[in-house]
Amino acid sequence: MRKYCLLICFVLLCSISYSQEIDSYDIITPLKLWLLNNEAKAMSELGCDGMIISKNSTPLSILPKIPFTEKKAEEELWTMHRKLYSFLNDTQKIYDLSKRYANGKFAVAIKQARPEVWGYSPFVFTGFGLPKIISTETRKNFLKSLAVVIGLDIKRDADLSARLRELIRSLKDEEYRFLREYMSMFKALYPSEKSVAQLEAFLNQGPKKPFGNGLSEVVDAVKDAFSESESELDTSEDSLEELDSLADSETETKQKEVEQMEAPDPDAANMYDIW
């Protein structure tokens, strides 16, 4: 019994430390949860009260059932909120990228990482030019895969400050001021919650001062890999394609079926991507 208790305590401690680890760069969730909670409360109350009103609004038995539709002003507010949630998510992505990968340490780690060494080591004694070809290709594929995995877009993320400026510009002035008002309200209500202060500082300073310089080295490295192999992209098989080819035929056919399906509207996906 004691063993089980110890095991549970260990698992809990691990999960707590892990959650702290993964949420260390989160600056939007408290604000979003607060707003979502209030929004849900308002929706629930308005829905309930709307039913009470509608059950009493036609008190004459000679009136037929009338399918009247009602346009609600609050829908405009919820639509604006959805836009703000989307904005916050994108802000978090930029912040995440700058904090995780633009601190210089990551660029150093990338420079030090040499997967190609392990790639060509078995072939060192086989031929003259083979190790060099393999190592170059392995390095390119490694960088390309890395860009995909960390969500790096070399055109978009070359200047994170500009990306943030562009994001803020995507909101109307009124919408941006609306968000700022929510942030100041949240700060007044929960002064000990520092995440919103961080978010506010990031939105204030980010567009003015260039940040994420450490990422530019990673971007440059990936850009080189892309530019070198750009002409070969259509013909050469990269590592991901090789992995795909290893998959069995059944998976391939299923994948083809999925590819044939209509792609979802990216804007619609954004709209509901509130978490």
């Binding site: 209030n38 039913m51 059950k55 000679i62 009247f68 609050e74 008002e181």
Partner: protein, 236 residues
């Protein structure tokens, strides 16, 4: 002494006459085979007020023409076909307005319908009816007051005022709301049908945020609905 008795008797007789003059029985009296045409219009407006963005309003109005065809009278109920080209429902309505039967409709989905008192109604007298509305486990008592406000004896019309008081429990300190409904109905006493009715519902809600001693106004909502029912014609 004799004169005094005479005066008292006269006064009593006059009072009796006066009270009978200002007391009527409100009841439906649809003529068999008659078709009553009505127009029902409704105007809804809603406003939301939020910080920075201020007030955002939305309004729309809709109108519907419908007829009431009186098929007959059986078992103390008028057999009425109510509707328009799109849909018609048969309802069995008693003379006080109570729905006795409605084969094609689910009674549970019916809204509240008020019923006229079965006794003579004096001008100024108020009848009260309490109902309960249940939504998502919440039960809201609604007190309806109907007052006969006047009788136009020359045109044979009775004016009835009505209002609903919603006893909403404001147990949530973060959300305060008000809900009212009031209106007026003109009943045609000679025809035994509703001539015109107008009523208005108002809803207001305010949401605040409170954390310890700090309070902030968040959003406020307002909704108004104006309903107008007018008789547009009778065909016999």
């Amino acid at each position: 002494m004799n004169n005094k008795n005479y005066v008292l008797t006269t006064v009593f007789f006059l009072l009796l006459c006066t009270s009978s003059l200002f007391a009527v029985e409100i009841k439906y009296n649809f003529s068999k085979g008659a078709v009553y045409s009505y127009n029902y219009s409704r105007q809804d407006s809603s406003t939301v007020n939020a910080p920075v963005i201020g007030k955002k309003s939305n309004s729309n109005s809709q109108s519907l023409d419908f007829i009431i065809k009186s098929v007959g009278f059986r078992d103390n109920a008028f057999i009425l076909d109510i509707g328009n080209r799109e849909a018609t429902y048969r309802r069995y309505i008693s003379s006080n307005g109570d729905i006795i039967g409605s084969p094609a409709e689910d009674r549970d989905t019916f809204p509240f319908f008020f019923i006229f008192p079965d006794v003579d109604w004096n001008v100024g007298k108020t009848f009260t009816k309490t109902t309960e509305v249940s939504t998502f486990g919440k039960i809201v008592p609604v007190v309806w007051n109907f007052t006969l406000t006047g009788i136009d004896s020359t045109r044979n019309l009775a004016d009835i005022g009505f209002e609903a008081k919603f006893k909403i429990a404001n147990d949530d300190r973060l959300y305060s709301k008000t809900m009212t409904l009031s209106g007026k109905l003109i009943f045609n006493l000679s025809e035994g049908v509703i001539h015109q009715a107008t009523w208005k519902s108002n809803y207001g809600a305010k949401q605040i945020c409170k954390e310890r001693t700090i309070t902030r106004d968040l959003w406020s909502f307002e909704k108004q609905s104006t309903h107008i029912l007018r008789m547009t014609g009778v065909e016999r």
